[in-house]
Amino acid sequence: MAKLDAKQSTYLQENPEIDREEKKKFKNSIRKKKKLVLVLTILFNFGILFFLKYANFFIFNFQSLFELCGWKQNRLVLNVILPLGISFYTFQSIGYLVDVYWGKVEAEQNVFRLGLFISFFPQIIEGPISRFSELDGQLKEKHNFDYKKVTQGMQLILWGLFKKMVIADALAPCVNYMFDNALFINGAQTIIGTFAYLLQDYADFSGCIDIARGSSECFGITLPQNFNHPYFSFTIPEYWRRWHITLGTWFKDYIFYPLSISKFSIKFGKFCKKFMKNFGKQMPAIFGLIVVWLTTGLWHGASWNYVLWGLYYGIIIILGIIFEPLTKKIKEKLKINDKSKFYKAFQWLRTMFLLVIGRIIFRANTISDSFTLIGSIFDFKNYSLTDTEFKELVVSLAPFIVAMISSIILFVVDLISEKHPEQSIRDMIDKKPTYKKYFIFLSLLLIVLIFGCYGPSFTAIDFEYMKF
């Protein structure tokens, strides 16, 4: 694409005499070629991802379909090893290609530099999915040893280790127990287990991102934020603006917007408007949202659970858009103040409830397991929780209690950070006297060293998002 751009500018410089029509024609031909290169490179990148991650899923489903039609044959399974974090760097590469195509960034001529951008080690496991424009300059510039950046980077790594080793890994046995025994547990166990999963997933993923960002910061390179206290969200769209931010913005920039302004979408919008008036105007956006959420689901893995999970969130957001005028009217009639604490609490509880359902669909071993678990929440007759049932659920009581107490620390830190967005917690601590700083970081280090899940007494647990 860079060569085509160069060819275009050289041609236009060398031939200033050509008329406008000819210029347009030449530019169009270059654009077409660029588009072809873009499509081919995207297909190549997605092809690798598809073969390694989704081929078995589609083979299995097609074979099941054929079997239903009475055509039985031996099951074919491709024995392929899924590379670590493949979805992350594939998306990062495609983002770069599209940015080059759109002319947002200049194509990198040095293949090693491009390789460095795609495989920059801290982000290779679980992201964040960086943009070329964010990293390129930082990767190229000279970095001297910076005491503040190194210490703050290490502080972020320590905070990430706290989240991962003290909270996430300690809650993992409880979460695994719940999802492995979906058919046999009651509503109370499902509620406890799912809240444990909400905490585990957040601590695990954001912990890994903190470690990645901290490691990067030690080298003077700042990676983008991936979380902004998602559990303080009052609506589902807000939650998705705060959770896995880099993936959300990737889908928004590279799928939703291009789809919404595509010729097809415009025609589709006009067509719908004929039949549905104002609602028809929203149809292209709704179509875009369905595509985005289906692909978000599939991005997480080759499973019907993820597809259903994506659709679940897509439908919630779409319903939110459709019913927005109606809810506005209801609120006006009932004189509900959007900013009142009561309404905020209602919104937060509603969001948490929807998240609980979404999380169950996401993590359950099968779709039927997820329905069983959701059903158990509504089975109010079966809500008793004996001492033994509780102990079985948490598997190991002491680490579970420590994880819960640590979650309170995490909540307090997130709350402070939410209330003071203008300043990072690390900067706040940095302004404190040395003995206080020592106390905070030594305590945190001791908590990780003593209560962290590591060493031969524990079974090591991989980062949750590593498999994506």
Binding site: L445, P456, S457
Partner: protein, 377 residues
């Protein structure tokens, strides 16, 4: 300002090193009940045991050796370790045979389904508490990966999980120091802390179906069986402990254990599924073990004291029948009998208290060997 930064760079890591050093000392102890069970085994008078029970925690709280002695005259010891993996049992037996020549070794195989990752974590308490020897080095090499061996060479990493027992550390230190050279009284028995759980019969899943073990799981079983074949002077009885399955996970594991039982028999060893005697019929009077789901469980996989009494009575008789069929004589010297009679007498008040606490449903009542030393000696 710049100097201050560099001072911080030196002082902070120094304080961290000092703290880690302190934790190394604070957490360096082994006073959990299973540690004492392995450690105190060496204090048993040489060749005084008829039967050695090797297996996981279900055995430890299901079989009461002193009660068995009173009923059948068999001297037995629960040489068990929580969740002990199959490969670990091979070394447990080898270590146990250094000081005893039991006539029968009973091996509980529930952990045959544990993968190699669990072998690493669950071999620790056995390895931590056996005497240093060539066997220990060999076992560590065989049971632990290089990474774990490196980790346990750092005392802090090896012991950091001990924080869960830090409260009992000081409590048991004195008892351990005082009694570390005497023989045990409970002979490896200890109850589970939750004394009674009524098992919902609707939840119980009975299965006689089998699912083959994976190659990864068969290999350690073969190693154990090969080792047992070399022990000509001892009869082996492989068992699946009497327990219920109440979850899908447990049921799928049960199927694998059933398969392992058949495999063991195919290899020429005796195997018995004791859970069959537990619910031969849903009516308790037709159940040879007389286990009652309303009163005999500490939790879904472990018997409480009442259940243990019933199991011990049944299994003691079973062992006698097994010995008769194999021509094994369980008689021993007067000295051994006198010793065991004394032990039974001394443990009587403890079992009385345990019965009382279990009847009254006293929460969290658990007695281990060190508790016994502390309270009754």
């Amino acid at each position: 300002m710049k100097n201050r930064k560099w001072i911080n760079f030196i002082i902070f890591p120094t304080i961290v090193c000092l703290l880690v050093g302190f934790l190394n000392i604070l957490l360096d102890f082994n006073y959990t009940e299973e540690d004492t069970r392995i450690k105190f085994y060496y204090n048993e008078p040489e060749n005084s045991l008829d039967v050695l029970m090797v297996g996981p925690s279900t055995f430890r709280c299901g079989f009461i050796p002193t009660l068995c002695y009173k009923q059948t005259g068999i001297t037995a010891y629960n040489y068990t370790s929580n969740g002990s993996p199959i490969l670990t049992m091979r070394y447990m037996i080898e270590e146990a045979l250094k000081t005893q020549q039991p006539k029968v070794i009973v091996v509980e195989i529930s952990s045959v389904t544990n993968g190699s990752d669990l072998t690493e974590t669950r071999s620790q308490s056995f390895l931590n508490n056996i005497n240093d020897s060539e066997l220990k080095t060999r076992a560590e090499k065989d049971l632990l990966s290089k990474k774990v061996r490196q980790q346990i060479s750092v005392p802090f990493i090896k012991n950091h999980y001990n924080w869960t027992n830090i409260a009992t550390r000081f409590m048991y230190e004195k008892a351990y120091q005082k009694h570390k050279d005497v023989q045990t009284y409970l002979k490896g028995y200890s109850n589970e802390e939750n004394k009674l759980q009524v098992i919902n019969k609707d939840k119980i899943i009975k299965t006689s179906e089998t699912t083959p073990l994976t190659t990864e799981l068969i290999t350690p079983l073969n190693t154990l069986l090969d080792f047992c074949k070399t022990q000509q002077n001892t009869k082996f009885l492989f068992v699946k402990m009497a327990k219920y399955s109440t979850t899908r996970t447990m049921e799928s594991l049960d199927r694998q254990i059933n398969w392992a039982g058949n495999y063991i028999e195919e290899n020429g060893f005796d195997f018995v599924d004791l859970s069959k005697f537990m619910f031969a019929d849903d009516k308790i009077e037709n159940n040879p073990m007389q286990i009652d789901t309303n009163s005999d469980f500490a939790n879904e996989t472990h018997l409480n004291y009442f259940g243990a009494q019933k199991f011990t009575k049944f299994f003691g008789n079973y062992l006698m029948q097994f010995a008769n069929s194999k021509g094994i004589d369980f008689s021993h010297s007067q000295e051994v009998d006198d010793n065991w009679s004394q032990i039974c007498e001394k443990t009587a008040p403890y079992f009385q208290l345990l019965e009382e606490k279990t009847t009254n449903n006293t929460p969290l009542f658990r007695v281990t060997e060190l508790d016994f030393f502390k309270k009754y000696m």
